[in-house]
Amino acid sequence: MMKKYGKRFLAAALAGVMALACTACAGSGAAASSGSASAAGSAAAGSKKIGVIQYTTVPSLDNCYKGFLKGLEDEGYVKDKNLTIDFQNAQAETATADTEAQTMATKKYDLIGAIATPAAMSAYAAAKANDIPVVFTAVSDPVAAKLVKSLDQPGSVATGSSDQLPLEAQVKMIRAFLPKAKKIGILYTTSEPNSVSTLERLKKIAPKYNFEVVGQGVTNDSEVASGAQALVAKGVDCFNNFTDNNVVNNLQSELQAANKAGIPVFGSEEEQVRGGCLASVSIDYTALGEETGKIAGKILKGEAKPQDTKVYTSESGTPIYNTDVVSTLKLTVPTDYQNATKTTTTKKA
């Protein structure tokens, strides 16, 4: 096919430049990434090496990691002192999460932490062949993802915490705020497994409070505005959000549609209420991460084994409401929620 000898030099040059590009970028990146290479020499006795894979960058997952470190500290493992952490963000690509998990398993780390479902699945697949414990967090349905056999008795190398939304408490609150409402509109992204499974749960809970659930799936951010509009057209009395990354990132589009129709939006996190939602009974992701960190700490100490460590779930949540929205919509705060945390619209979501 190709005959020129000059090609040989070009090929060699290409290989050289590729290697250079690798090392050059790596050099500048090394400082930014959380000390994966160091600490091996200065580590004290009893120190551990763990890897953490975070699936993508969103505030709730970032908070999970923050809490995770705090929980480990509570159990006596301090980052960069007696704990080396190789933290990797998969940037929302499963192929990257897989490679990260495989490398961590290969390096025989003492434990792999995984934040969000896809990361947990990559970690589990890589770790189970090597018998390395996996501690996950922000996985809404670990049983459906087959990470554990049951929440009480995982029976596998994995355990951790689940971020199932406290839905019953949320629906109860919606009923208290809107005594006459009939339909709850749900905007969810079809590719986010948490949203789909949460919707199924909500459909079971809602009839107990005489609500009908109207779901509207969207596939990307450009569809959020029209999806919200479609729900308004279907005559919903309010919106309720899940921890759906796509919807939460485009909260303003949803709020615009709802505000125009004069109906309230219930959030799933405090941040959303500060961004203009009416109220929510929400999970504290930092606290969730902290509980997860404690589980990881106990496993590292050898005090617990993943196969019989209960998966931590946050069933009760903290109610919070936005006084600005209450007055714009001319609602009254129900007596049961008079003592809930109050906030105002502080920022655009």
Binding site: K4, A21, A95, T103, T106
Partner: protein, 306 residues
């Protein structure tokens, strides 16, 4: 040393599995000169189909065949859109890729992530199981290598047949094919069928190896496989005895190696995509300089339209 060997295992295993896709993309991109974006959809199509079939208890090898057929069907649609309905190559790929998202969601029953841990797969039962219990992690590498190399050989053999020669001619000199009284459009469709069948098969094998499938796993597959083909062909193009399909596979292994090395050196994954693009550009430019006459990637401006 153990760690180093372990990393080699990971790179080789992933390289061979994604290498199946690289062979497919070699057919569409290099042989047919068709930038096929369907790949981003047919890869998860294979993974999702495999997940559902294996959950249903279908034999894993049979699942591979069905996945190939599913990918082939997707390729046929792209070919039909382009050849028969005269939609541009890029656009027909994008259209089918977009549609496949819905298809994949329908296959998985609206679940974005499907896991089938501890079910029989080609890596855990039969030959794969024997290899794994005898050689541990290397067993998986060998299994991936066997699947990839057998497919490469079959494709090599095919390209030597009458139909294969016509396929190659359709990419490089369509007029010649017409002069033989054959339809180059038909060969294009055939090439897309093969390419996407192999991509889906690659997704299927990967899903079986990690025992789960994700509808979003197609992101970046076009770039990854194009880069692998280009790196392979521009680095190894001078090795005369080597078949281009082998170059594509080795290109994929090198690509995965670059990625793993970058992660190992502590490169913040934020910069990973930039690094991959840089490697891609270098390989692309180098391959054009190296082959001189080749003008695949040069945009020619039609001055009459300005």
């Amino acid at each position: 040393m153990d760690i180093f060997l372990g990393l080699v295992q990971v790179v080789l295993r992933e390289g061979f599995i994604y290498g199946i896709m690289a062979v497919g993309v070699y057919i569409t991109y290099k042989v047919l000169d068709f930038p096929d974006l369907t790949v981003d959809g047919s890869f998860p199509l294979g993974a999702c189909t495999a997940a559902m079939l294996i959950t249903a208890g279908v034999n894993p090898w049979l699942a591979c065949l069905i996945c190939f057929a599913a990918g082939a069907a997707a390729g046929a649609v792209t070919g039909f859109l382009h050849v028969r309905l005269h939609i541009t190559d890029l656009l027909s790929g994008i259209l089918v890729m977009t549609a496949l998202y819905s298809v994949n969601m329908a296959i998985t029953g609206k679940k974005a992530v499907v896991s089938f841990f501890d079910m029989p797969t080609i890596f855990s039962s039969g030959l794969g199981g024997t290899l794994h219990s005898a050689l541990g992690q290397w067993g998986w590498v060998i299994m991936a290598a066997i699947v990839c190399l057998v497919i490469k050989l079959v494709i090599d053999l095919y390209l030597k047949t009458r139909s294969g020669l016509l396929l190659r001619a359709a990419g490089s000199n369509a007029k010649f094919v017409v002069s033989l009284g054959k339809d180059p459009g038909r060969m294009k469709i055939l090439g897309l069928i093969l390419g996407n069948g192999l991509t889906a098969l690659s997704g299927c094998v990967l899903a079986q190896q990690k025992e789960s499938a994700d509808v979003t796993s197609g992101t970046g597959m076009v770039v990854m496989s194009l880069a692998a083909v280009i790196i392979g062909v521009s680095l190894l193009g001078r090795v005369r005895w080597m078949k281009p399909t082998m170059m594509a596979v080795i290109g994929m292994i090198l690509y995965r190696a670059c990625l793993t090395v970058a992660m190992q050196l502590g490169l913040d994954t934020n910069y990973l995509k930039m690094l991959m693009s840089i490697i891609f550009v270098i390989a692309l430019v180098a391959s054009r300089f190296a082959s001189g006459r080749r003008k695949h990637n040069v945009v020619t401006v039609d001055r009459s339209s300005i």
